[in-house]
Symmetry: C2
Subunit: 245 residues, 2 copies
């Protein structure tokens, strides 16, 4: 399984995915679950994926190599805005379904994928979307500025309590790491290292991209600090008064 999450904050985007492998870093760089298109000064678009790997890789390939439109090949590097980017990814999902869906069904393999798509194109708004297997999508809002795909439940309670659209990016990084930590502890199928991307609104370049391993000092501080803080908080709560026996 996978766990990916994204925050759409006033200051920009915080994106996090678990992943164990990665490919080359370049103008278009590919992590196993975090695919980034960066044209410095013009656009940053990140696509995070969960679900059947054959499907997600096919979708990523399609939006990289381009889907034919009446106006020519359209890619994540050429779309004019983020809404169109989401439509393009949705179209790619549907194309893969048309091509592979029936054969997968014959093998009892679920066509089960989801994506987070976040970024900004020059002169346009920063946006963060979540796409479903059907190719349709929803968008993060100031009321609910986070989106999750994959194993999302373990790490949701802390997001529900802490995330606000006006929190600082640094605090956003802190909370996504706590949310990931809760998931890592409770579900063995989600594993280190994890990939972090921070994008500052209107910067039009990747602000921070970092692979966090077991050895990362800050990640260890969050993990140990959070665990002991939880245990302490639990200890401090009183026992029920009605339980005298």
């Amino acid at each position: 399984m996978t766990y990916c999450l994204g925050l759409d904050l006033q200051g920009g985007l915080v994106l996090l995915s678990d992943t164990r492998t990665n490919a080359g870093v370049d103008h278009v760089s590919t992590f196993s679950k975090m695919h980034v298109v960066e044209i410095p000064g013009e656009r940053v678009i990140a696509l995070l994926s969960a679900g059947n790997l054959a499907v997600t890789q096919a979708v990523v390939n399609l939006v990289n190599e381009g889907i034919e439109q009446t106006t020519g090949l359209e890619t994540l590097a050429s779309v004019p805005g983020m809404f169109r980017a989401a439509q393009l990814v949705g179209e790619a999902i549907r194309r893969v379904y048309v091509k592979d869906g029936e054969a997968m069904q014959a093998q009892n393999v679920a066509f089960d994928v989801s994506f987070l798509l976040g970024g900004q194109i020059k002169g346009r708004n920063l946006r963060l979307f979540q796409l479903y297997s059907a190719g349709n999508f929803i968008e993060a809002t100031p009321d609910t500025p986070y989106l999750q795909i994959g194993e999302h439940k373990y790490g949701k309670p802390i997001l529900d309590r802490v995330v606000r659209a006006d929190m600082a990016l640094e605090d956003g990084v802190k909370v996504v790491l706590i949310s990931m930590d809760s998931t890592l502890r409770s579900n063995l199928s989600v594993g280190l290292p994890i990939d972090l991307l921070v994008y500052r609104r209107d910067s039009l370049r990747v602000g921070l991209r970092r692979r966090l391993t077991e050895e990362d000092a800050y990640l260890r501080l969050v993990r140990d600090g959070w665990s002991s803080a939880l245990r302490e908080a639990y200890q401090r709560l009183p026992r029920p008064g009605w339980m005298e026996d």
Copy 2:
């Protein structure tokens, strides 16, 4: 949806379920999701259920009214030990499947149920089981002294960090309420009030049964206290040092 959980501690059992309705309290009492068989001084057996209500009610009815064996009708009030009780519930699940499974499938309704079964019979060990739709089951152990059914993921991280077989029953009550609170906050389909049962090992009678509503002072204390403790703990963690931009 439902969330039920049980702790098998050295001191006894702590069982908690969310539920909005209940029926009469008696020698055999029925809550919507927590069914208790108590013969004071002889046995206490609690059955907590999640999943399709028609199936879970059919199973509860079968183990109450009895399943015919070569030796006569066998019920939760007559089984000689908890392992046999788990087998009986499993047998009931399979009978309901044989009777209703095909018709349910024709209507595209999943035969999806799970149960927690905990208790003790005089002269025998206290035990806690989790039963699956197939009627098979697993047992809590000193290494993993908790079991969950239903919407279990939101409330798992705190259990993984805090629950130990040698914790006091009072502390067990505290942690199951925290776990339930995390679930209530993150999933609207799980709701108050909640039903709590505490059984002290070898007491052979229900130690505490309590329905906790929005108005319960201790529950409110746990909910508010936990929320502010989490926020505080989050605040206290430092920001990442590598994020200077």
